[in-house]
Amino acid sequence: MKRTINSTSRAEISLKGIGAADGIAIGPIFVYFPLKFTFLDRVPGMVDQEMSLFIDARASATRELEFLKEGLDSCVDEGIAAIFDAHMTFVNDPALSDGVQGRLNTGMTAEKALIETIDEVAAMLEGMNNPLFAARGVDIRDVGRRILCNLLGVKDTSLESLSCPSIIAAYDLTPSDTVRLRPGMIVGFCTAAGGLTSHTSILARTLGIPAVVGIGQETLDLVQQADKLAINGATGDVVVNPTSDRISHFLSLLDANSKRHEMLKVQALEHAQTADGRRVDVSANIVDLDSAEEAVRRGAQGVGLLRTEFLYLGNTRPPSEDEQIQVYGSIFSVFGDRPVIVRTLDIGGDKPPSFLDFPTEQNPFLGWRGIRVCLDELGLFKTQLRAILRASANYHAMIMFPMISGVEELRRCKQVLEEVKTELRAEGKDFSEGIPVGIMVEVPAAVAVADLLAEECDFLSLGTNDLTQYALAVDRTNERVASLYQPLHPSILRLVKATIDAGHSKGKWVGMCGEMAGMKKAIPILLGLGLDEFSMAPLLISEVKWLMRQLTETRLKDITERALSFKTVREVDDYLGEILSEINNSAGQTNEA
């Protein structure tokens, strides 16, 4: 099967999709189709014929690399151009052709000869002591893959093989597609399918990479491997093969964005407050030491949610007390005397760790998960509590129990905590005696008895992701119904209000660590409802703090009243969207393409 590369210049095409992650990206496209190499064992032809196949494939690969290199802007790192040079040299390396020729002489097919030669050469490089040289094994495998794709007449597939910063164009991306991607190589995402909550969108927002989703399959088919793309992740605009005028326009937007980001970064280090000076806590949701450090850099007042699952998942045994103390301690020390809320192990049947015997459940989200697992596996639970207590001896840590559904459950958790404290006292180990204890409010039942729960703990934190799913009976990963997942649904607003009021009525503070806390549209109403703490992905902090500074108490009161008066999601969403635009415009900010 022969493939020809289109070498004529292509016309500019303007497309529109859903802006899923803010930002401007300009770059060459990388069309991604997940594909496994399964080819049939065919009977090899004459040695000369097989060699010809290899030589043709090699020539195509070279042309591809030339195109990709040409597609690089001068503003791109020279190092990237050098990588292409190296790849082009590898493709035509005598060692490769000699290796292939030698194997063909023994009567193999071209593809088998190529794969074996690449494996041998890559293994040789990977076996070298100096890591700099060993790393080139990746490059040679990349090159081998490129030649193989040409040989078999298929489009290349692996995201790992990206060697130049590109915009990924795909039908959609799943977590397994992106698990090994190199963030430095992705400058943007553009998918045919997907919405604001699909994996691509969430990943893009987490990485701070612009993304446009839902442009449609027909539109995606218009795009070719060597095309250049400019995307505006705020507006959903996509331009294929932009003219230099269009590029200038995008570049100036990019410039305006980065200037604003610089300003925001500086202001983010100040304490969060409204225009009238009411202070609230803006904290970070973190998962490890790296995100802890990033959180501090981005102006987090503390940590509203330290997820601890990473210590358990992907391991064949649970972490020991000492291992945990080490990890928690290093994270606590990054924050010094600022609060760090540690959520105890929150896992379930959807992503079970290998060392626990999970039942096969019809409905893992309503099954054995969260605090239920810990209360059944007391050994595990107590070890974690011991580690948290001991690590927080000189810091300001707090404990938070997930998925609490009622007073009994909370009392049981507190009882286990007391047992652990007694043990530690008897052992003479240092720990923070008065460590504050709170719960995540995510099961709707907890909202109904939030006042009772607030009497028996120190704080409440709204886990709106799961709360919204449970309350609206929607699985946000289920494509069929994902659009029903709406944090701005009037019912959710009422649940949030009820929780905040209940907590405050008992003199306890109420925070939020679900995604809603970092949702710009939701900020005004959350402030208006009196939320005390907003915990979010570090990347979102500066924008949120900026937004808060634009809002006066009077304005907040009006917005909240109005938003709560609506009967439909649409009305709430439209209204809060208008408010946001007003604020942006009056402050002279605009994201329009």
Binding site: D85, D93, P94, A95, L125, L132
Partner: protein, 92 residues
């Protein structure tokens, strides 16, 4: 006839990536057969036109290599490669 040149690589990253690529490109510009071996970390003698082979002998900063050229333009080949190496492959 064969000509030989022993030379030390001062380039910071040794004979790797871009320097290695430039080396093999320069070698390929000549008709002579070019072979290289690592004297500091003894290695087999390999084809100087193969980037893969040149990388495989692991020439790091400060290593001495032996370049052998055999052919009509063997002297010119060694001269050109020497110049390339002595100017540190165009690095500062």
């Amino acid at each position: 006839m064969t000509q030989t040149l022993d030379i030390t690589i001062q380039s910071k990253i040794g004979l790797h990536a871009r320097p290695a690529t430039q080396f093999v490109k320069e070698a390929a510009r000549h008709t002579s057969k070019i072979r290289v071996e690592n004297l500091t970390n003894p290695s087999p003698t390999v084809d100087g036109r193969s980037l893969l082979m040149v990388l495989s002998i692991g020439v790091e900063h400060g290593h001495t290599i032996r370049i052998t050229a055999d052919g009509v333009d063997e002297n010119a080949a060694l001269e050109d490669l020497k110049k390339l190496i002595e100017t540190n492959f165009g690095e500062a």
